[in-house]
Amino acid sequence: MASLPRLHRARTSLSAIPSLRTSHQPGAVAPYHAPANSLSTSLSTSTSTARSSPISSSCLISNSATISQAQTRTPTPLCIRARARSHLHAQPQIQSALHPSIRTYHSSLHPRPPTHEYTNSQVAILSASLAHIPTEGFTRAALTAGARDAGFLDVSVQLLPRGEFDLVLFWLASRRGLLRAKVEDGCVFGETAGTPAGDRTGTGKGKGSGLSVDEKVRILIMERLRMNKDVKGVWQDALAQMSLLGNIPLAFSELHALSNDILNLAGDTAVDSTWYARRMAIGAIYASAEMAMTRDPTPDMVETEAFVKRRFEDKQALKDKVEGVGSWVGFWGNTVVGVGRSWGLKI
């Protein structure tokens, strides 16, 4: 159990960019280094400062996270050391990271399987397209402009079989990865850098430790919504794409991945029967807050924040009601069974 934190760190460093892993088809090149290579050309300025400066300055950069910034991260010396120390334990993880298979269960000890399998060229086009979203929207025009920026032809957007929806998915996945990177850098909950999500609850370090899971979840949801500030005006495009019949399953799985990540980062490690209910609640709150955000004229998203707060109160009220009804039903059920047994019924 003592090696768990180190294990965690090794894992997070491996999956530092969970959403941007490239495909593992035999034809694809170097799964883990590939996105970093392809992104680093366009993002060299922001990432190089982030790498060379201490955490506080990297916080500054990711706090003012612009669209063009993506989450290229290299393992820090700390985590390399940690990986070396917990070599025996870390080995199977690395193995499974190199040969990921579809896993139907959630595990904090294994790297998450890649959400999307994009090849290098696809990542190059998509990440160049992100910069065009605020002006062009989630459209084919943004993709074309991105392809041209990345040195491709207009016709090369054929690389993305889903077209605009690929751009939406990539936006969602990359923002999700960025959120994770920010939390792990300690920019959201203060100086807790290096501590993985699972351990932050117990130890009394940093200002994040004083917060409850619910409060952390609320902060994370707001943090994620603030990343949408620049695309607020064109978010309807994305919603329209996601509501198409064929795209609904992928949109939902992405929403689930986000709520799962938020809960994980907030330090929620419980695996009880409310596992699904909690994820559904977070997903519902986030999705409805996105809708509210598109109608929010305030620059700081004050109204959205108030909306999220109200939804959390609703969630609490609903939870209390359900729990109340549950205990009522349980009590009466027990009573009826007890009375029945006292009458000699075989139950």
Partner: protein
């Protein structure tokens, strides 16, 4: 004593004479000759429908088929596919979305519009659709199509039909008679979009054509191919085979008066590699495959294959 041994020798040879040699008489020199003669025939065969023909003959045989069907090509397509081929072609062109809107075009771009090469597009079905899409949807007046076909009769049919389009006698549309396996008149890295629709099936050497496509495409350019493929649902496949081998030659006999050409057509459909095999051939030529690499149309009767020529990155 000597009489006995002589008798034995005679006896032996008499016995031996009964046994017939299993192989014909071959001296070393004539074995070499026979081997040399057999080799080209044995290796250089290709299929023409269900029959095997020498490679050199296939081109002329396919030429004969298409020369004979050129005039009734359109009516026959409608009858054979019950009109569905128009939907496929429309879908194909719409998914490729040819043409760049002027508003999205950078002012300093040296290449205005797309350079499209339509292989085996003799009658211009795809070419006119592409130009229509570029003009009407994307308001792109610069995109141009080169129709290339090996068959002069099919090209003549396309020329005839082009007079009814607004692209007749403009620089946006040109016709070339060429073999897609070797196109020295087209420079390397010069084509944005290479399309071959219901044509690659008839090529003598498909891999050579794919390699040539890879050569002429610009880095980042797209190879798009629509071709008959394998139906995945076995029940539907049985119905489809019945239609193919029962109805199509009959329709060909009644409407076009040419049963053999349409018999070849259905046989060549049957012989064409499956979706996965053909995707492998595209990959082998060096193309990058987007996603699954193919899209089935009408349950796999036809499939759209795409490949992108990768750009060399530093």
């Amino acid at each position: 004593m000597s009489a006995r041994s002589a008798w034995r020798a005679l006896h032996y040879s008499a016995k031996r004479r009964v046994v017939q040699p299993t192989s014909p008489y071959r001296c070393f020199s004539c074995t070499r000759q026979a081997f040399d003669q057999a080799k080209p025939d044995q290796q250089r065969m290709t299929h023409f429908g269900f029959t095997n023909v020498p490679e050199s003959e296939k081109e002329s045989r396919v030429g004969a088929v298409f020369s004979s069907v050129a005039s009734s090509y359109d009516n026959m397509n409608d009858l054979m596919s019950l009109g569905i081929h128009r939907l496929w072609k429309d879908h194909f062109v719409r998914s490729l979305n040819p043409g760049t809107p002027v508003a999205n075009r950078p002012a300093d771009a040296k290449d205005q519009g797309w350079n499209i090469l339509d292989i085996a597009g003799g009658t211009g079905d795809i070419a006119f659709r592409m130009l229509d899409h570029a003009t009407n949807i994307n308001h792109d007046m610069q995109t141009r199509v080169t129709i290339s076909d090996i068959n002069a009769e099919m090209l003549a049919e396309g020329r005839k039909r082009s007079t009814a389009t607004p692209y007749y006698n403009t620089s946006r549309l040109s016709f070339v008679q060429a073999n897609a396996q070797d196109m020295p008149h087209i420079p390397s890295d010069s084509v944005d979009l290479y399309t071959v629709v219901f044509g690659i099936r008839n090529f003598t050497d498909k891999q050579a054509a794919l390699n040539e496509a890879f050569r002429v495409l610009k880095p980042g350019g797209v190879f798009a191919c629509m071709e008959f493929s394998k139906v995945e649902n076995p029940v539907f496949d049985a119905v489809y085979k019945r239609w193919n081998f029962g109805a199509i030659p009959l329709i060909g006999q009644i409407v076009a008066g040419d049963r053999d050409s349409y018999q070849y057509l259905v046989e060549s459909i049957e012989r064409f590699p499956s979706q996965e095999e053909f995707r492998g051939m595209i990959q082998k030529a060096g193309f990058e495959i987007p996603g699954k690499g193919y899209e089935n149309l009408t349950g796999g009767i036809a499939a759209i294959h795409k490949g992108i020529k990768p750009i060399s990155r530093v």
